[in-house]
């Protein structure tokens, strides 16, 4: 593998070309930069069969990810389960439903390990020894852990009201964690200033074009695990609005290589009603995304009021015949419980958002009950325990007697029954 597959960076607005450098926006018009690949060269050197023979990690698709050499960070990331969710499908009244479960991604239990693996491998290639991020939580832990393993110094900036599990889950790795008074958008703005002032590699600022491509691996895996086909519907959570676009881009790249049939996937985006700048754009058919000044939702990982890719996300949903919806905090917790009780998967609040929106879209008739639907779960419920702790019943406490247990469950064991131990 070599640099021949990545030509450089390209502005999504004006098309201006840039070399492979740590820059996230076009100096002509501030438009977003995107990695520019030579797909013909990739097609000549890579096949589906070659991919299938490789280790089950995200790097089985390395030619379609923007690093020049072999990856050096996050070598075990990706290839999370695609769970056929039969019981959940029945509960929602649809024929075929899958959960792409990045709640068990390695090493930090969220999809962010994918983007960080790419961004930090790129940071090493570009010669950075200090990296950083602006995070709503999952990214903080992922940058901290992966930087620790790679021997990079890490500065992690977070809003000051994050869940304890996410703060601890960054600090434990020895990263320099700084909490900023204010919401994520304020953190983000400060990081933009720090990245260029100090010349550090901020994964979602100056390394963002490379970083964002890491999310494509989730799309590649979905298509491969469905037997090399793109699903009819994908529901993805939206914070900055990048993931949903990269999932679709992944399908289109596989189509371009001739590995899957023409993509007809409809893309659906999910937000919390307390922070819905992107779904609001699509629902009101607005020409621009109106930022939300003061996000208020238990889905803190999605609380980005001014989403960088909001415009592209809303355009994509419309163009693919999809849609965007948002749900309130109560619906979020209900959906977290539904996923846990039907499939044994404990998602974080963002997963509750995604599933609650899926349910709403099915009820609205926007998602076809006969199609194949993939719901993207991007983070783990262990990290957002505060959100549900008061909504879940406490276990009853009894004395260690059979009588009390029988009273509790409202039945008594059959008399004289010599029950064989289970499994005997």
């Amino acid at each position: 593998m070599s640099s021949e597959f990545v030509r450089g960076l390209k502005c999504r607005l004006c098309g201006k070309l840039y070399p492979k450098e740590a820059l996230n926006f076009c100096t002509e018009d501030f438009g977003p930069l995107e990695v520019d690949y030579d797909y013909e060269a990739i097609g000549r050197s890579l096949s589906r069969e070659a991919v299938e023979r490789r280790h089950r990690t995200m790097w089985r698709y390395k030619e379609l990810l923007p690093i020049d050499g072999e990856p050096t960070v996050g070598l075990q990331v990706g290839c999370t389960p695609l769970v056929k969710a039969t019981r959940l499908a029945e509960a929602l009244g649809v024929r075929e439903l899958y959960i792409k479960n990045d709640a068990v991604n390695y090493p930090t239990l969220s999809f962010k390990d994918r983007v960080v693996a790419v961004a930090l491998s790129k940071a090493v290639e570009l010669g950075f020894d200090t990296v950083g991020c602006a995070s709503t939580g999952n990214l903080a832990g992922s940058v901290a852990a992966n930087a620790a393993a790679a021997g990079l110094e890490a500065y992690v900036l977070i809003p000051d009201d994050l869940e304890q599990g996410k703060v601890l889950g960054a600090t434990i790795y020895g990263a320099k964690v700084v909490a900023i008074s204010g919401n994520y958008d304020k953190v983000n703005r400060l990081c933009s200033q720090i990245a260029f002032r100090f010349g550090w590699g901020f994964v979602n600022v100056n390394l963002r074009p490379f970083y964002a491509e890491g999310s494509k691996s989730m799309g590649f895996e979905i298509a491969e695990d469905l037997g090399w086909r793109a699903p009819d519907h994908v529901v993805a959570p939206m914070a900055g609005g990048s993931l949903i676009g990269k999932l679709y881009k992944a399908f289109k790249e596989l189509e371009g290589l001739g590995w899957i049939d023409p993509v007809r996937t409809r893309m659906f985006g999910a937000q919390a009603t307390g922070c819905n700048p992107i779904t609001n754009t699509i629902k009101t058919d607005a020409p621009r995304v109106k930022p939300v000044r003061d996000p208020r939702t238990i889905a803190k990982s999605l609380a980005i009021g001014d989403p960088a890719d909001g415009f592209f996300a809303s355009k994509l949903m419309k163009e693919t015949g999809g849609w965007g919806e948002d749900v309130d905090d109560e619906a979020i917790v209900d959906a977290m419980k539904l996923l846990a009780e039907t499939e044994g998967i404990w998602a974080e609040t963002a997963g509750g958002v995604t599933l609650a929106v899926t349910k709403k879209l099915i009820e609205q008739g926007k998602i076809d009950r006969d199609g194949t639907t993939v719901v993207c779960i991007t983070g783990n419920g262990l990290k957002t325990q505060e959100a549900v702790i008061d909504r879940i019943a406490r276990p009853p406490v009894i004395n260690p007697t059979l009588a009390e247990f029988e009273t509790l469950i409202g039945t008594s064991a059959p008399a004289e029954a010599e029950l064989a131990p289970a499994g005997a």
Binding site: F30, L33, D185, C191, N204, D309
Partner: protein, 90 residues
């Protein structure tokens, strides 16, 4: 005169200056004066007449002008105007 802070990638257009003093009673007037002083910034910041590029965020002190009166937001002598690229985060 309000102070305008220039992001690193635009400093080649301001002769390397990180802050530029510009006059005006609204954010729009201050930016117009900035462009008068450094004409190369015109197409960097504006898509058309009085229309900022979609991915240029402008702040007055610590507040996004989209939450105030956009380019008509009043500016005092002691205020700071910040220009920040919007493509970050998430």
């Amino acid at each position: 005169m309000a102070k305008v802070s220039i992001p690193t990638p635009l400093r080649p257009n301001t002769g390397g200056q990180a802050t530029v003093e510009a006059a005006g009673s609204t954010v729009g007037e201050v930016l117009a004066d900035l462009v008068r002083l450094h004409p190369d910034l015109q197409k960097r910041l504006f898509a058309g007449e009085g229309q900022l590029h979609q991915y240029v965020n402008v702040y007055l002190n610590d507040e996004d002008i989209r939450f105030m009166d956009e380019l008509k937001t009043p500016v005092k002598e002691t205020d700071e105007v910040g220009i920040i690229p919007a493509i970050a985060g998430g």
